[in-house]
Symmetry: C2
Subunit: 343 residues, 2 copies
């Protein structure tokens, strides 16, 4: 399958493409289901999670499915109370604020606390029937720590960074617990049928490279190392991390996911040819007139044509208002263009 | 004066330091004045603007004052209606949405439309009595365009990017108008007494390098070129722009301002020795215990000790809740440490 070949830097017939958050609100089918169920209900009901996972697969010629889930449910098993509030996004109702809060965290077995997603993975694998691979994923330890400490999304990450600086012992304890959970969860997803695993470090770009190295890198590395024991390739994605790409690579991953703030050929230069790359169209480019959308996609394709190991994707999740017909046009364009570049 | 020497990459006695948004809510003196006046009242009353500008100068051993102003008032002279709403930040009540909106914009003379800030600059120069230099500033054309089109701050910049993609002719017209205004405003600030000028491109990091080159770079370049005709050095600051630093340098500036997402020595490597650098401590590090704050500052000092032309600053504006005594400790530490490094 071409996505797996790209992960392993093997030749592909055409460039594989999938889109972060490809199952989501830009699709009418998804919005219809969301009229009846909350996000957490869908995630925790394997049949519904399979249905949503398959929506973009049925609509577009994508080269991978990604299991419909969220990065935050792993925190529930640790004892944090999570809801999704309208307009506000996720809220943790008992955020971590003291070393005692860290000590009180449970270390759940993801095979129990996240059984719903593992079941959904197994069911989706059957549903896909081997046509395209299924991607499992987890939030990275740092991104999970941000939510757990801030209690939601944050503008300046003052609470999480103060915790790091003021309570380093408790911080490292927290990150140990999170990396063990994340690594085991990814491993269990592979056991359940995921053929690729992606680690999302969405908030890592708010750190200086110094803080990343001291407070985060060892834990992303542990989580990725455990995930890799499954034998499945790992995609390591960080946003706003252009100047930390060598550190992300050092933490691990067969594929490094890029956001759109860097030219792909520049990333290739920095990272070398011994790792595959994924990215990196600005999600807002999907709102552009189709000729401009294609022009931007073509630049990325051309810059990535030189070396094997490239997966086309957006530089971040697809946005809710994205025009569906532009998504279809992009997917087809990437397949056609890679044929032209190769011939 | 050491800040001017650093701008020109000349030797300095000790490393100069100032802090973006150094006059602001973290200071009790500022909060006291804000009980009586709104931000716009302070900005538009030269005596009050001088008073606020001097507050951090009287409190800390800073190497430059920066005129108290805001990046958005230039838009008022073009015909946009601006207020600052509690909690929400700035709001433009008649944002630009169509090419006709662009055509209808006035091209104000900043010597009239922004006379209050120019007067405040002249008064502050007198007040400073030559002890330290005074910095003038403006928002960059792209950052102003973001506010003018989005109508306020934005999460994904969909409106501004769609405008760029869908209405390129009108976009370029808008950017012509903005760059002419910004360039002239900076020039007029130098005429009025500003000894250094900083261009803030706070939102530029939301662009791909492709979009920056096509839609933004020529206009930042025009604005900087006009500012430079005053003979005063220009600092060019962009946030989240680690992978676009060579493009920022190409647009111009004697000094490139860095945010904290890049190691300073890495930035030096990318940018070479023919430009000065400013930055780049994470503003949240000011919340850390003082020994850790000093440790982080020392790393930056050491990495920048090699080449002349360095101004210590934060990587973004100081945050409202910052402990004042940590600010004092940082300023003194930078001065003391640079003595040690040099001796």
């Amino acid at each position: 399958m071409r996505l797996l070949n790209a992960c392993h830097r093997q030749p592909v017939d055409v460039t594989p493409i999938w889109l972060m958050r490809q199952a989501g609100r830009y699709m009418a089918e998804y919005r219809a289901l969301r009229e009846k169920y909350t996000i957490l209900e869908i995630i925790k009901t394997p049949d519904l999670a399979v249905e949503v996972t398959m929506q973009p697969i049925n609509a577009f010629d994508l080269d991978a499915a990604i299991i419909f889930a969220d990065i935050l449910p792993p925190l529930e098993g640790m004892g944090l109370r999570l809801t999704f509030e309208k307009g506000e996004g996720p809220v943790i109702h008992n955020p971590l604020r003291t070393p005692a809060d860290i000590d009180a965290l449970r270390q759940p077995n993801p095979r129990e606390s996240l059984a719903f997603t593992l079941q959904a993975i197994t069911l989706t694998r059957q549903e896909l029937g081997g046509r395209i691979p299924l991607i499992g994923f987890s939030g990275a330890p740092f991104t999970l720590a941000c939510y757990a400490i801030e209690g939601g999304s944050s503008r300046n990450y003052i609470l999480v960074k103060r915790f790091m600086y003021e309570q380093p012992v408790a911080w490292h304890k927290l990150m140990e617990k999170l990396s063990a959970l994340v690594g085991e969860y990814l491993f269990a997803q592979a056991e359940s049928g995921a053929q690729v695993l992606q680690l999302f470090d969405s908030w890592v770009g708010n750190l200086s490279p110094f803080d990343y190295q001291e407070f985060v890198l060892p834990y992303s590395r542990q989580a990725i190392a455990r995930a890799k024991e499954s034998g499945v390739p790992v995609i390591h994605f960080g946003a706003s991390a252009a100047a930390m790409l060598p550190l992300l690579k050092a933490a691990g991953g067969d594929v490094i996911g890029l956001d759109w703030r860097i030219e792909p050929q520049h990333a290739r230069q920095i990272l070398g040819n011994d790792v595959a790359l994924q990215g990196n169209l600005d999600p807002v480019t999907l709102f552009a007139p189709i000729p401009i959308l294609k022009q931007r996609a073509a630049i990325i394709m051309e810059q990535m044509a030189g070396a094997p190991g490239f997966i086309f994707n957006l530089g971040h999740g697809i946005l809710p208002q994205t025009p569906v017909e532009h998504v279809a046009a992009l997917v087809d364009f990437v397949h056609q263009t890679s044929n032209n570049i190769q011939s």
